[in-house]
Amino acid sequence: MRLVIDERRCKGCNLCTMVCPYRIFKPGTKPNARGIVVPELDRPERCANCRLQALYGRTLCGMCQMICPDQAIRWEEEKPGEATKVAIEF
């Protein structure tokens, strides 16, 4: 699974940067085409939900998705053959 921010919905309130226990979200620096500074992802492969959602069959943490007022955060299945990066923090 892959963590995705929907740039068409995000309004740049940066609430996700506050709640993520892994601090994956960082406040963005550049405004996008709509003039909104969307948060950046810092090594999103660390997200526990991305790695273990399929194994456990349920959403594990999901705080960013729940608190996002604009419904802009979701997890996507990787396309077959897409390169994936794995990083596990102990």
């Binding site: 309004k11 940066n14 705080m63 998705q65």
Partner: protein, 262 residues
């Protein structure tokens, strides 16, 4: 199914300001709804007027956007006409506590089988930041430029006294607890009232020293105090901070309810 299936994708992004907590409450409500496994045809969302009351427009089920303060009156009508429907009411604090105050206490008294989610942003957000009955003492708004002098309504105590079956209060920071509370509200027969304190960065936060969205969320996080702890402090005779936000399930009882199929 996930909560995203209940959203009207073509209507998004919604009109709420950046950082408005109403979107978070929609997420929590839809997550709880998803756990219940209700059908889309059997669920109805009702709302009055205000920022919070725009919410049913983004949900795929049938919905009613009614007159100011009368959401509960319309919801009562729906429930009485067809008790098989699951009726959920989204309202704001100005809608429920100010103009709809009488409908609110009588709906609690009748104990109709509704679930009311009140998004309390402590101000009239949509009309430009006028003080509402839940504006805390000392808070600035356009109608109270020197600080509100009136004591605020405690909606949860009001609902408990009027006779609701399930009463709970959480904030938009406590998303997991809010989801659980809404879920319990759906399961409880009779009137369930869930108050969700939400941040209003544009009209409340800007005037009350919460310049960033995160400041107000941080305030909810640091000033929220559980009901159990308040009871314990009272027993021990210790003081409770004035600005504490009491969170938790206030009432869970089994009074005879109206509109429940036996």
């Amino acid at each position: 199914m996930t909560y995203a299936d209940w959203l009207r994708e073509d209507r998004l992004p919604h009109i709420y300001c950046a950082g408005c907590g109403n979107g978070t409450v929609i997420n929590c409500t839809l997550n709880a709804l998803d756990r219940m496994g209700w059908k889309k045809e059997e669920t109805i969302f009702v709302s009055g007027i205000g920022c919070s009351s725009r919410a049913p427009g983004y949900i795929v089920t049938d919905s009613l956007h009614t007159t100011h303060g009368r959401a509960l009156a319309f919801a009562t009508g729906i429930k009485m006409a067809n008790p098989a429907l699951h009726v959920v009411v989204f309202t704001g604090d100005g809608d429920l506590a100010a103009i709809g105050g009488n409908h609110f206490i009588h709906a609690c008294r009748r104990n109709i089988d509704l679930t009311v989610v009140c998004m309390n942003n402590q101000i009239y957000g949509m009309t430009g930041g006028q003080g509402s009955p839940t504006t805390p003492r000392g808070a600035l708004s356009t109608t109270t430029p020197y600080g509100s002098q009136e004591p605020a309504f405690d909606l949860c105590e009001l609902a408990s006294a009027a006779g609701a079956n399930f009463v709970s209060r959480w904030t938009s920071y406590h998303v997991k607890e809010l989801t659980r509370a809404v879920h319990t509200g759906f399961e409880t027969p009779g009137f369930s009232f869930i108050e969700a304190l939400v941040q209003c960065p544009t009209n409340y936060g800007r005037r009350n020293k919460f310049r960033n969205v995160m400041d107000q969320i941080e305030y909810f996080k640091t000033h929220g105090i559980l009901l159990q702890k308040v009871k314990r402090l009272r027993e021990e005779g210790k003081p409770i901070p004035d600005d504490a936000i009491v969170l938790g399930d206030f009432v869970q009882r089994n009074r005879a309810a109206m509109g429940v199929r036996r």
